[in-house]
């Protein structure tokens, strides 16, 4: 799930951080820039792992702060295809499921990757709610939000940033994981215990 990536970046150190030591202030600035953001094809930044080198410290004409070039490693969250991850159910609708890891919410299991055969039916106890059921050997197994769901990563995509968005559309997700439940051992943990 997690990888290290080595990056190099030239950054300007804001003067309010000068009271800290150089390492701490560069680290703080890198965290402000990168933490919890997505870098295309590298993944979602979890943490700054370490700083390998810091160079520079020049103040360019016209600027009020010194510029440093830092080489550092970041911990990236980037699941690989075929990885099995345990997540919690966030939403479920006729198009599929949406799962969440707490720190990452854009995991979708579309209807065609649900265990075959399944259907989306009304819950007999709560008529207003609908949920997914897996029909296996004449038994119906529901996917409700009680326990954790294991899914296999089918694809990780990084959609390009849209130029415009409609007013009430879903907020843009820079990294989307598509998961599959269509295999032995996947789905809610209670199905297999």
């Amino acid at each position: 799930m997690f990888y290290l990536s080595l990056l190099e970046h030239t950054l300007r150190l804001p003067p309010e951080l000068l009271k800290l030591s150089l390492d701490d202030s560069i680290k703080r600035e890198l965290e402000r820039l990168f933490l919890d953001k997505v870098i295309a094809n590298l993944g979602h930044v979890v943490s700054v792992y370490d700083i390998k080198s810091i160079d520079g410290g020049f103040i360019y004409p016209g600027q009020g702060a010194s510029t440093y070039t830092a080489v550092f490693r970041l911990i990236m969250f980037r699941p690989f295809k075929g990885e099995i991850i345990t997540a919690k159910l966030k939403e479920s609708d006729s198009k599929g499921l949406r799962l969440s890891l707490g720190f990452f919410d854009d995991i979708y299991v579309p209807a065609h990757l649900m265990p075959n055969p399944s259907s989306f039916e009304t819950d007999p106890e709560n008529p207003q709610y609908k949920r997914w059921l897996w029909i296996f050997e004449d038994e119906k197994y529901p996917i409700d939000g009680f326990d954790e769901i294991k899914f296999q990563v089918h694809n990780v995509s990084y959609p390009p940033i849209p130029i415009e968005q409609e007013k009430d559309s879903k907020p843009f997700a820079p990294m989307v994981i598509t998961g599959s439940l269509d295999s032995d051992g996947l789905g809610p943990v209670s199905w297999w215990s």
Partner: protein, 204 residues
């Protein structure tokens, strides 16, 4: 604005070297499974997805994949920075987003693991000839039954046949169980109780 700064080009040409990504002994950090083949020093100028004006600068990646980390290593790193389960969270050294990762990891199978047991598992599973991705999956999930391990492996039947139970036994013996797993005797009763409840619910 995807222009390439000359500084990046110069650094890229200096930093090309043909190592595999094994053994980062120079950095003083032990990473276990850094034998994934590194994407060869992908270099590109990208804009970070952030709304900060100052951050819309070019940075270059020297190495996209500097080694894979098991969940345990990330948890260990966060713990060494000071993350705890304490709900008040007064520590300033960890950002809220890092705490969310910590919360997820501390409830998963890796919270009771230690470096020694992972090293031990790594040595003992060499005779099974597992792919690196499979070893990583096993360490992160800690499957306790054949059906769980079947989803991780490719061609489980043809590669192992009956020997798969030995691998499951090795996993349960070497790696500690995840926090929520009940003891076997209590587990059986609870599972059977839940099974009956589920069937009763569906029948009604």
């Amino acid at each position: 604005s995807s222009s390439v700064s000359p500084l990046c080009v110069a650094l890229f040409s200096i930093s090309v070297f043909t190592g595999t990504s094994q053994g980062h002994s120079d950095c003083g950090v032990e990473t276990f499974l850094c034998f994934f083949k590194a994407d060869n020093y992908l270099f590109g100028s990208l804009n970070c997805f952030s709304g900060d004006e100052n951050a819309k600068r070019i940075f270059c990646r020297q190495k996209s994949n500097d080694g894979a980390l098991t969940n345990f290593e990330v948890l260990d790193f966060l713990r060494s920075r000071g993350a705890t389960k304490d709900p008040t969270r007064v520590m300033n050294s960890i950002a809220p987003s890092e705490f969310k990762v910590f919360d997820y990891l501390v409830e998963s199978a890796c919270c009771n693991q230690t470096r020694e047991c992972i090293n031990e598992f790594f040595d003992k599973c060499k005779n099974y000839k597992l792919a690196p991705a499979e070893i990583l999956n096993i360490i992160n999930i800690r499957p306790s039954s054949v059906v769980e391990i079947d989803s991780i492996m490719e061609d489980c039947e043809s590669r192992f046949g009956e020997g798969i139970q030995d691998l499951v036994d090795l996993v349960t013996e070497v790696l500690p169980p995840p926090p929520s797993e009940p003891k076997p005797e209590e587990g059986m009763e609870e599972d059977e109780g839940q099974g009956q409840d589920d069937e009763a619910k569906q029948g009604s």
